[in-house]
Amino acid sequence: MAKYKTKGLDCWGRAKELRMKYYQDYMEAHKRGALRWEGGAWTFDAVPQALEGEVHALTEEPYGASVGANPELQVRYQEAAEGKWGCARDLCAYMRSYWGSIVLNEFAFGGEWPKADFIFQNHICCSHAKWLQVADELEGGDIPFFCFDVGAGAYDKIGERQINYVVEQLYDGIEFLERVTGRKVSDEKLIQNVYNTYDSACYWAKACELNQAIPAPLDEKTMFSLYVLGTLEKSNTDIAHFYKNELYPETKDRVANKIAAVADEQCRVLGDTQPPWGFLRIFRYLEKYGVVSIASLYTFSLIGWWKIDGKGKIVPYPTLEEQGITIKDRDHALRLLAEGELKGKLMWAPFYGAKYKNDIVTKIAKQWKCDAAIIHLNRGCEGTAQHQMEMKIALQNMKLPVMTFEGNMADEREFDEGRTTRLIDLFVTENLGLKKVAD
């Protein structure tokens, strides 16, 4: 008999619908006289989405992940990129898929590659700095391009100077947008977009926080399909509504009624970085042992905003409502946007050193009551895979058993499923002392 009650999420279908609509809208944008832009998942979409009229974005990383979920497609796109450019296989796997898609003039969701009207990007890593420059070259070299820098320091170093640094660039960005599109940036839209961004980021964090409950109401494999909406367009009203009014209340209800993500939860595991997207079934394999991945800095903070409170605990970043803030004008909106992103997105911290990642991850392991850690040594993304071996040592110093396995988030040529499941068998039976609960 199963240990806990379980059932699927009621809001699951809605999440899928929102995601498909996003890609459909991007493909069909020009038919409706709407604008299309390319950028990153962390590109402060509230700003370009504040342009008058209809505007749709294509964010790079989720597109790369979507391709990554199809091993055959990812290899074809990557080989196209490697063949065209001779680009090295140790470059970001998402980026290679994206370039290959353009080279083949294919859009993974159907039809030809939909060319963007402008590019609005921030430099979160060296790959992002070049990604869309190269994409523009592949698309003819005539797409207006704007980028801004966000290397302002880790969350504990953000003050007025750092916020000003980013906000001043955003003003440049607005000037760029108006010049290249011939449209105005609406303050009313911008303000609403910033409210939506806060709701998306903070309510996702609140939903993740609920995973501290035993049994966990959500498992990481499911969470991948839920956080993705925030990587598409945090500033979108429907997406913000989804997090605030659908996912979060439903997750609270699951905790209140002890509804588990996995009925036989007997071991809670901390993960790290993107998973091998084409092989998410390894999470289901873990569940045969009652092992559930329930927490990771990556899943929590890719879109979620957090803070370290006065007691040294990681807690969700406060919404604007909770802070008692009403946005007054454009400048206020931009400052709040920059502040939230720079202070709240803990995922930026590892770029500033292992000390930050170790501190955050060990806190997560403790607060989310993790029994072990399984770390994907992800060759596809150097950014999220930074400091993983230091992190392993830090977790082992907490007496947490830790396993690593090599792979690539979106290049199936670098992942060996058979070997990985054998490593899982070894780790789970020997280090964790568990037996299978299901076949």
Partner: protein, 276 residues
């Protein structure tokens, strides 16, 4: 009672049959493409050498990358677990195991009881495995069995790439064209893999006694290089390539099996009771 352990690796199969801790037979051979068939044949050969029939063996446990292909096994244990059980039986003071086989190199930290505490694997790369030595031996045009003797003659250290077996091979060819002596190249090959394996071992932490097993442990030249790379003495048991199979046999004897083993044994006993 008699127990058997079968280690089905990437290149070779090893079988150990034991009774009351004494080894009755040890047989090894190439795994080939049809590993299940190779395991079957070598098991039969081991039984013949021990003067036994299948029914005389109480339990068979398989291990190795293709251990699950052994249809007649009563259970399967992970290879690192088999390594741990086998090594601790032979060298009770062992605390770190380095196993370098045909297709994988791994380091395992074990407890005094032979439990796996931590492990690290040289994944998806031939450059830290026996395959690297085979490839370089071919490039040098010497039998792989000669590599140890050759490298032990060398008094010179030449840095060499061990990031990739393909690049390593082309580097060997370059060294040959530069008229570098074969024994120096052989040592460079061993030093290169040892450096790589040493790095893997440092992930789990090196605690003495360090024991090396697997096919590459038979290569005395490599073992010397490994000692240099980790700065510690390395013990190598006799027949190091059979240790994992011995560990599997030990696991069979101590009843560390999967659930299906227990069910099969219970069923077999019921049938025997019925016959009696």
């Amino acid at each position: 009672m008699i127990f058997a352990g079968i280690d089905v690796g990437g290149k070779n199969v090893h079988v150990v049959i034991a009774k009351n801790g004494t080894i009755l037979a040890k047989v090894g051979g190439p795994a080939g493409i049809n590993k299940a068939e190779a395991a079957e044949q070598l098991y039969e050969e081991a039984l013949k050498r021990a003067g036994l029939k299948r029914g005389d063996v109480t339990r068979v446990v398989a291990t190795g990358s293709s251990g699950s292909r052994v249809a007649f096994a009563n259970g399967v244990i992970p290879d690192a677990a088999a390594d741990a059980r086998g090594v601790i039986k032979l060298i009770p003071s062992a605390r770190t195991i380095i196993d370098v086989g045909g297709e994988e190199g791994r380091a395992i930290k074990i407890s005094p009881e032979g439990k796996v505490l931590d492990f690290a694997i040289n994944e998806r790369c031939a450059a830290g495995t026996g395959t690297f030595v085979d490839t370089m031996a071919r490039a040098l045009e010497v039998p792989v069995e000669e590599m140890a003797k050759l490298s032990l003659k060398s008094t010179r250290s030449i840095p060499m790439n061990a990031q990739c077996a393909v690049f390593g091979e082309s580097e060997v060819v370059s060294l040959i064209h530069q008229k570098t002596l074969k024994h120096d190249i052989a040592r460079a090959v061993h030093d290169a893999i040892a450096g790589r394996i040493g790095s893997v071992a440092r992930i789990v932490g090196l605690e003495k006694d360090v024991v090396m097993i697997g096919g590459v442990a038979k290569n005395a030249g490599f073992v010397e290089s490994l000692k240099g790379a980790i700065g510690m003495d390395v013990k190598v048991p006799d027949d190091p390539d059979f240790v994992s199979a011995l560990g599997a046999a030990t696991a069979a004897a101590t009843g560390v099996l999967e659930e299906k083993v227990k069910a099969k044994v219970v069923e077999k006993e019921k049938i025997e009771e019925g016959k009696a």
